[in-house]
């Protein structure tokens, strides 16, 4: 066990855990931030996607000891009140079915738009391919990303 000070959603949080513990389980089991989901544990499904230093990262493969004081953002911290353009676009297109993978999809999409505000279809597919939606809401996700891109541009 070791003590870590983590910078999560703009707050410093202290946890005492084994250094090998992935951030996913630190968030879920120790900090009650349950929006980040467990799906596969091997960085193949994207359900656990968070932002570390603004980049999309699979939290199931990131040990707490490797984070240091980098800024971590989870779905709970993406916006104050669910009003990030990507979240709003998800609402507009009523994207979800079961909803389980969508926090990960939103975190991947928002990281994509941050680095590439107006992605092509191929660029969307390229950066979203690591996020599985078992219900098959992919076409809506793509539409929502385009809506979010357009709305961000107009904002």
């Amino acid at each position: 066990m070791a003590s870590f000070n983590l910078n999560i959603n703009g707050k410093t949080q202290q946890v005492d855990v084994d250094p090998s513990t992935p951030i996913l389980w630190v968030l879920r089991d120790h900090l009650d931030l349950l929006g980040t989901k467990y799906g596969c544990g091997i960085a193949q499904c994207g359900s656990c996607t968070i932002h570390v230093g603004g980049m999309a990262v699979r939290s199931c493969q990131l040990p707490v000891s490797a984070v240091g004081n980098q800024e971590i953002t989870t779905i709970e911290g993406l916006s104050e009140n669910g009003d990030h353009p990507v979240q709003q676009a998800w609402l507009e297109h009523d994207v979800y079915q079961c909803g389980y993978c969508q926090a990960g999809q939103i975190m991947s999409a928002s990281a994509l738009l941050k680095s590439n505000p107006n992605p092509t279809d191929e660029e969307i597919e390229g950066s979203m391919n690591g996020n599985i939606c078992r219900c098959g809401t992919y076409t809506r996700i793509k539409k929502a990303i385009k809506t979010a891109a357009a709305n961000s541009e107009n904002a």
Partner: protein
């Protein structure tokens, strides 16, 4: 208005409780944060000081806020929005005033509280309408009594009761307290379909805001003070059980509080109970990661109790079943053997599909708190009643001492019809005497499944000199059950017809997987018919329509289980919407139609070649599911079904070696991803006033046939063996 007796489960319409807090329903609350068990909606109405239970579905607050309980499990099919819409329609309350709560299992109030067979809306349509209409009537009677009028003098709409020939109005919130004592009406009036204001519109998912902000909703998110976490380890192969393991070593590992073997054997095994791994190693601790580590340190002695099967053995068994297997169901019309002999052209083709896993994104999990006299279960289940029954058997406890609450469910697809994970959680909680949440890893989930059976089918057709289909036969084998529905199309449409469903043996555990049997049969049959149409020199849609004409005008044999006019209807609709006859250079088209779960769906796939690879440009869907309740959500279901059909027939398979599943996670088990889906899917609904049927499954099966047929047009190659991306027949 349609006058109708309230005979349908009158118990659910009764005054349910005198408790002002609405204490009749045992809900549950999320531990972390102050998340109320309500759905997000900006009602603009104040939070009521007092709530009044109108019936088992409706609670009205003094400010006019209305709570509607959604009885069935929400697995992503959107019933948590669409079922309450039906109640709200008949209650005649603005949707803005409605908040939705998930009802717990309550067999006294609700019927058919399960998610399966695309049945939620279909089976509850009348009950939900009556619940709303009963509530409206009771509020009107209360107002009539207050004003010294009769109900005939009043109109109820938009959450208000108005004096038809006067000026007085009263809101539902103001009159609700007076409605509580009103006797349940013997008869209620239902709206006419043309008067629907809510049904047929597009209402957004009631959990949408929570989903996009990451609020706890799912079973895996549930926490309770003092709750332990548990994981299980099942034997590495079907045909094995656990003898013993290094429990003492595991117990000493950091973060582990206990380790033992549980036995979930039940005296009477029900349809939804586990049939494979009954003895399991359980490890208990305070948090998840140490348990994942401890699982890796398990050293167990596994014992062989059955055959260790390989995929090659499965193919052999299927072939053997096709030649000499036990026929489970069959139908014969005319004299197929004689007709094939005199046919001018005969074509025979074999199709196959592997075992596949459900792979819900939320792995199996359940919370259980078993005490001496009671058991509380909370989590994701499609069949709360079956779970309650199985836990009662396991614990030897009366049903009334067991409660089951449903969380939102991170995918079902049939996997959560089976209750083993809930039963296992109860067994662990009993053993440790504490509340516990059992979590499967993805590997546990994928290798302890109730898989889609593996199938193999042989189709044969005979044409006469004029290219009329005069003989059709199909033999379909599956492990353990065959895929054929002998009374389905083209039964009734061909003079000489034979269909046989054949079973074979396996100890791999199988079960219902989204659109059971149809998920294979539709693809095989619809690809085969495409090839038969080609052999006959006919357009594939016209060829099918000819067959439906026969089934409409002069049906062959005893009853068949489809309505040929509605079947032909969706084909005609997709033909028109997709401009089927139009030739667009570089666009290759395939069509399929299928009827299952009481819904008719036809699909056209437009495919292009991109960098030498086939790519689906557009999918056109025509759907007849009767009345559409929530239009955009209904489209979403069909879109998802299409993508699921493409994904599993193109990419997914489970293979077995020595009884063990070879694909344990998404590195080896391929699911469809963003870059592999159609660019666009357009869904059209047939408009009619037929009572609604389901949409959870019917969009999927025809996608497989339309995909295979479009790929043939694009590549010149027919696809017989799933997954098409590999087309290897060795897959069991």
């Amino acid at each position: 208005m349609t006058r109708i007796k309230t005979s349908y489960n009158r118990r659910s319409f009764m005054k349910v409780s005198a408790a002002a807090s609405g204490g009749m329903l045992i809900g549950f609350s999320w531990l972390n944060g102050c998340v109320p068990a309500t759905s997000d909606k900006k009602t603009g109405l104040a939070v009521p000081k007092e709530w009044f239970d109108i019936n088992g579905y409706i609670k009205i607050g003094d400010t006019g806020l209305v709570t509607i309980y959604s009885p069935n499990p929400e697995i992503g099919q959107n019933v948590k929005t669409s079922m309450p819409m039906i109640v709200a329609e008949e209650l005649d309350v603005p949707w803005e005033n409605v908040i939705v709560e998930q009802a717990p299992l309550n067999t006294g109030f609700y019927q058919n509280q399960f998610a399966g067979g695309s049945l939620s809306i279909r089976l509850s349509w009348n009950a939900l309408r009556m619940a709303g209409a009963t509530g409206r009537r009771m509020l009107m009677e209360a107002a009539a009594k207050e004003w010294g009028l009769t109900v005939a003098d009043l109109t109820a709409k938009d959450g208000q009761i108005l004096e038809t020939n006067g000026e007085r109005t009263v809101s539902y919130g103001e009159i609700a307290s007076k409605a509580v004592g009103i006797e349940i009406p013997e008869e209620v009036e239902l709206k006419q379909v043309k008067d629907f204001k809510l049904i047929g519109t597009s209402i957004k998912n009631v959990d949408g805001k929570k989903i996009i902000t990451g609020e706890p909703l799912f079973g895996l998110d549930f926490k309770r003070e003092g709750m332990k976490i548990a994981m299980i380890q099942h034997p590495p192969a079907f045909g094995m059980t656990v003898k013993d393991f290094n429990a003492e070593e595991i117990k000493k590992m950091p973060g582990v509080t206990d380790a033992f073997i549980i036995d979930t054997t039940l005296e009477e095994v029900g349809m939804f109970d586990e049939k494979g791994f009954l003895q399991l190693i359980a490890i208990v601790g305070e948090s998840t990661w140490p348990l994942i580590q401890a699982k890796k340190a398990i050293k167990a002695n596994w014992e062989n109790i059955g055959e260790l099967e390989d995929s090659s053995l499965h193919v052999e068994r299927l072939e053997k079943a096709l030649t000499s297997g036990k026929v489970q169901e069959s139908r014969i019309d005319g004299n197929p053997d004689a007709a094939f002999k005199k046919a001018a052209k005969v074509i025979e083709r074999t199709y196959s599909a592997p075992f596949i896993a459900h792979n819900t994104m939320e792995p199996m999990n359940f919370f259980a708190n078993v005490t001496e006299n009671a058991a509380e279960l909370i989590g994701p289940t499609q069949t709360p009643e079956a779970l309650e029954g199985s836990v009662a058997k396991l614990l030897n406890m009366p049903l009334e001492n067991i409660t089951v609450n449903m969380t939102r469910i991170g995918g079902g697809f049939g996997r959560r019809l089976y209750v083993n994970f809930g039963v296992e959680a109860a067994a662990i909680s009993k053993k440790i005497g504490a509340p516990v949440k059992l979590i499967y890893t993805r590997e546990d989930d994928m290798s302890q499944g109730t898989y889609r059976p593996t199938y193999r089918a042989r189709y044969k057709a005979g044409l006469d000199e004029n290219n009329n289909l005069i003989a059709f036969s199909v033999k379909g084998a599956g492990l353990p059950d065959g895929p054929i529905f002998p009374k389905r199309f083209p039964a009734g449409a061909v003079e000489n017809y034979k269909a046989e469903k054949i079973g074979g043996e396996t100890n791999v555990t199988t079960g219902a997987w989204r659109a059971p049997r149809s998920n294979f049969t539709a693809g095989a049959e619809q690809s085969f018919l495409d090839e038969v149409a080609e052999l006959a020199g006919k357009d594939p849609i016209d060829f099918r329509l000819e067959l439906f004409e026969r089934a409409i005008n002069n049906p062959v044999g005893e009853e068949h289980d489809y309505e040929a006019e509605r079947y032909a209807g969706v084909l005609k609709m997709v033909k028109e919407k997709s401009n089927w006859g139009e030739k667009i250079p570089g666009v290759h088209r395939g069509v399929a139609a299928y009827f299952c779960h009481s819904t008719y769906v036809a699909e056209v796939f437009d495919m292009v070649m991109l960098h030498g690879q086939p790519k689906i440009k557009k999918v056109w869907c025509a759907v007849d599911c009767g009345i559409v309740v929530n239009k955009d959500a209904a489209k979403n279901m069909v879109e998802g079904g299409v993508i699921d059909g493409i994904g599993h027939s193109m990419y997914s398979k489970l293979t077995f070696a020595n009884g063990a599943v070879s694909e344990m996670n998404f590195d080896r088990y391929q699911l469809i991803r963003h870059s592999q889906v159609p660019e666009e899917i357009e869904v059209f609904f047939v408009e009619n006033e037929i009572a609604p049927t389901g949409l959870g499954e019917p969009g999927l099966p025809p996608a497989i046939g339309a995909l295979a047929n479009a790929m043939y047009k694009a590549t010149g190659q027919r696809y017989y063996h799933q997954p098409f991306a590999t087309e290897r027949q060795v897959i069991g």
